[in-house]
């Protein structure tokens, strides 16, 4: 699979990673090499094979539907780059 420049821009946008135009060709080359190597998986016959869901069989545990944590607003906000009036603050979203 060869990844072209447009695909690199699209993936970067989906991943919310800002890239500058000058990086695009190099990234396209690197991703093409890695994805090209990964393609060999296509040759494995997986007819009738179920995709792995849990590597060690395990039951998801149930717990009582009760509030067992909370009242820690200050702790939740302690590492926020910008906290205002008990909220996470972000740049204006609506003009």
């Amino acid at each position: 699979m060869s990844v072209n420049d447009d695909t690199v821009r699209k993936i970067a946008r989906l991943a919310r990673i800002g890239i500058v135009e000058t990086q695009v060709p190099a990234l396209a080359g690197e991703l093409s090499t890695i994805l090209g190597w990964i393609e060999q998986l296509g040759e494995v016959d997986t007819t009738g094979v179920a995709p792995m869901t849990a590597v060690i069989p395990n039951h998801l545990a149930w717990r009582a539907d009760v509030v067992n944590d909370g009242d820690i607003q200050a702790k939740v906000l302690a590492n926020a780059p910008d906290a205002t009036s008990g909220f996470f603050a972000v740049p204006k979203v609506i003009e």
Binding site: I34, P51, M52, P91
Partner: protein, 492 residues
Amino acid sequence: MTALTDLTIAGMKAGLAARDFSAAELTAAHLAAMEGARGLNAFIVETPDIATAQAAAADAALAKGEAKPLAGIPLGIKDLFCTKGVQTTAGSKILQGFIPQYESTVSGKLLADGAVMLGKLNMDEFAMGSSNETSAYGKVISPWKARDSDGLHSNRELVPGGSSGGSAAAVAARIAAGATGTDTGGSIRQPAAFVGISGIKPTYGRCSRWGVVAFASSLDQAGPMARTVDDCALLLTSMCGYDAKDSTSLNVPVPDFAALLTGDLRGKRVGVPKEYRLDGMDATIARLWDQGLEWLKAAGATIVDVSLPHTRYALPVYYIIAPAEASSNLARYDGVRYGLRVTPPGGNLADMYSATRAAGFGAEVKRRIMIGTYVLSAGFYDAYYTQAQKVRTLIAQDFERAWESCDLLLTPTAPSAAFAFGDKADPLAMYLNDVFTVPASLAGLPAMSVPAGLSPDGLPLGLQIIGKPLDEASVLNAGLAIERAAGFTARP
């Protein structure tokens, strides 16, 4: 008298119990070693004040006869474990200054057992790397140097392996008695092999992942790194256990692993997977592997040939699944709730996201997020991700079939000894270093590396033992048999 920093954890426990030395003296000796070895860059944060206070508490408990199993033992904690009140970065700039308000389950269990925390250990960014070159806080340097043909030590700096490279360097350099590591595709075993120490990745689900910064959740497992198999067993018993806060935590009893160590392998069948004997395999490593089989035979094991036919697909499967899970896990770093925020002048929320992530993530992390995003994107999901999960099933079934004829597997840990910085600049060449460790990770199996010999240029080489699910005891026992037979005493 042996220097306090040269003792094993078992030796430290005995000395503390006999009051040959105090926990304060033991910790002071390690803090001095930490200061003296800053050139290795093994620690991102040193916590001498915390360590000194914990050592004093250990001395008080020892005096009262109430000492917990790890009272006064000085450990390093990989910077992937959230530590309450102490910066935790996962080796990334995007988490610079992040101070967790809670303690990870695993580090909390070690501290509850009386351990002393020396500091937070450097690592590849978000545990993505096999050389420690991707850390945003500078590379960790191995305490080992290769010997040139004239027998003199070369000046070339070597990688400590990765991603738990700070853990490996600190334990090998006698700065810490032991350390926590994490292993997603080999991040405990490969660095342990590179610096001549032991390390075990337990069965997936043995150690809680709660409070461990996530990389690839279906693969990530914590485990100990130490200078002896016995020390690994002591730490592992403390680190394991059911935790309701991790939905994949296994609710099974935790044995006293150290008490089960005998080194006696009578009745055990050790499998040799033929697919691991790669074309062009390093001759010293091939010889060491054969030697290891002889050692296990001498300890009572029988050797059988087995086949794991899908081995060659393990790395490509891993490099779909791990980046896919990483792209999802790392979506949380958006500059809103914690960590770095970069807002371009006049930028909106979307601009803030992409600028923050562009500035905060390093090249390898970006590469993997982009691969993960691609393989999960519409139109490619089935061809890449679903196919990888199907082949992962086949890889796990290979192991299940092997367990019909054997109880353990012996393989080399890594295809080479430690390499020099910059030697594997091509990402694919770096990925191939995990060829022997990734399959057991994909199948969730316990696996450990034990130092077994030296390369022709005097660098440590490890052998890997893989076991059945939850059979860490047999893995450790085979590790002990190799440790005893190899008599590995080389040190940096």
